[in-house]
Symmetry: C2
């Protein structure tokens, strides 16, 4: 199966994208809602949690792993690929490739959690492919909480988005990477505040397209993946609010199964 993990429920935006790109493929999702969020925490802590999440998904039958969390993708990918033999995908590289494809002015903005922005990984990956590209980034730590609360259209959310995007507007970017799987839920507000002309890269769509391509090129891996149209959702903690948020993101009722890690 395709295994996907996230710090919480934001990674369900990746599930949405995978379901569209690869309909019928069985999915296993693990959201670490007991320890969410990751974006405010240290690198070593996030790496430790990522090992546990990956172990869980492999034990449940995952044959490939998608790290559907930008923070974990930023700080834990190398350690995970060193430890595990199965293919591991992260959400940074495909978003960087898509951004470099569409950016004419080579002025690219990134928004993400503090851990993601501090890791500088987007800047390093962009400039490894195009040393002349200019990269502007800003950490937006409150946006995850606003999404988790379902405050998707409130005036306070608009004000906070505007404040966070202000330094990027100053950089005259033409492309903006949403470097957190929660942010696609605020895409309309973000587009409005950054300006209509700026192209927005949604890393959940980028990674889904990359995986589709990978599977096409690797039929032996494709053969390992079951296609019964089933999706199982596991979480490390369960509350009514988590259920509501999951429903809001996936736009349908799902059963979240509580597992104690």
């Amino acid at each position: 199966m395709i295994g996907i993990f996230d710090s919480g429920l934001g990674g369900l935006t990746v599930v949405n994208a995978i379901m569209k790109q690869l309909p019928g493929y069985d999915l296993l999702y693990f959201g670490d809602t007991a320890r969410t969020p990751y974006g405010t925490k240290s690198k070593e802590t996030v790496i430790g949690y990522s090992f546990e999440n990956t172990d869980f998904l492999i034990k449940k039958g995952a044959e490939i792993i998608i790290i559907a969390c930008n923070t974990a993708s930023s700080v834990a990918t190398r350690r995970l690929t060193e430890k595990y033999d199965i293919p591991i995908f992260e959400v940074i590289t495909p978003a960087v490739e898509d951004a470099l494809t569409v950016s004419g002015k080579r002025r690219i903005g990134i928004i993400g959690t503090r851990a993601t922005v501090n890791s500088n990984i987007y800047k390093k990956k962009i400039q490894a492919k195009d040393p002349d590209a200019r990269v502007y980034s800003n950490a937006c730590p409150l946006l995850v909480s606003l999404v988790e609360e379902g405050w998707l259209k409130k005036p306070e959310t608009r004000m906070i988005v505007k404040k966070y995007l202000h330094p990027l507007k100053g950089g005259q970017i033409d492309t903006l990477i949403l470097g957190c799987t929660h942010y696609p839920l605020l895409k309309d507000i973000i587009q409005q505040k950054i300006g209509k002309r700026v192209k927005i890269i949604d890393s959940s769509l980028s990674v889904a397209a990359q995986i589709k391509e990978f599977i096409k090129k690797n039929p032996e891996i494709d053969g390992l993946l079951s296609k019964g149209g089933k999706a199982s959702f596991f979480v490390s903690d369960i509350t009514d609010q988590f259920t509501k948020t999951a429903k809001k993101i996936l736009k349908k009722d799902i059963h979240l199964e509580h597992v104690v890690q």
Copy 2:
């Protein structure tokens, strides 16, 4: 020693209050920054974390425990007092007693995390002592994130506080309990938005006064507590932002020691 635990750094407001009421008493603080926040999580998860935190403090030499977190106080106190033989204090009861002492109209408001408000514990404790008291509560889940980000005076914070207090204003309360150890840092804004005449009960001050009283009445416990004027601060995760927030709350530099639980 006096052991104090919290989901993160908000409990440092209790440390401040204890240091003022009981100067010279040695303190052990544990902040569960790796798994913060607790207020959005389930009862069973918070109980499990509270056991681990208490075990840690006892191993380090705590002779009494203060649960400096309203969420853990709300959902875990009974389970902790059943398990451990040493005195365990929580922040709810002393705040309720102080509120009932000052409220003339017997119309009391509570703000807290979703877990605290959903537990209904304040209402139960208030009405156990005065069945005629009217209790109004509202969950304010975003305030913890705003405090942790240090957004103490920003216009967005003012707007969000105003929105959260709106239903309590409708209840014509004369007393408001700050049912989360982060909220004293927003006391000025809260006072302004709820109105000057409303008396604000800061549970960190209430619990510190209760402990001072308890120690005076129980000299055998007092004898167990060391008084070298030392305070040690342990956290389950460490980042620059956590260090900054701790400094902001305690108004001095402290060393946060990282322990892996």
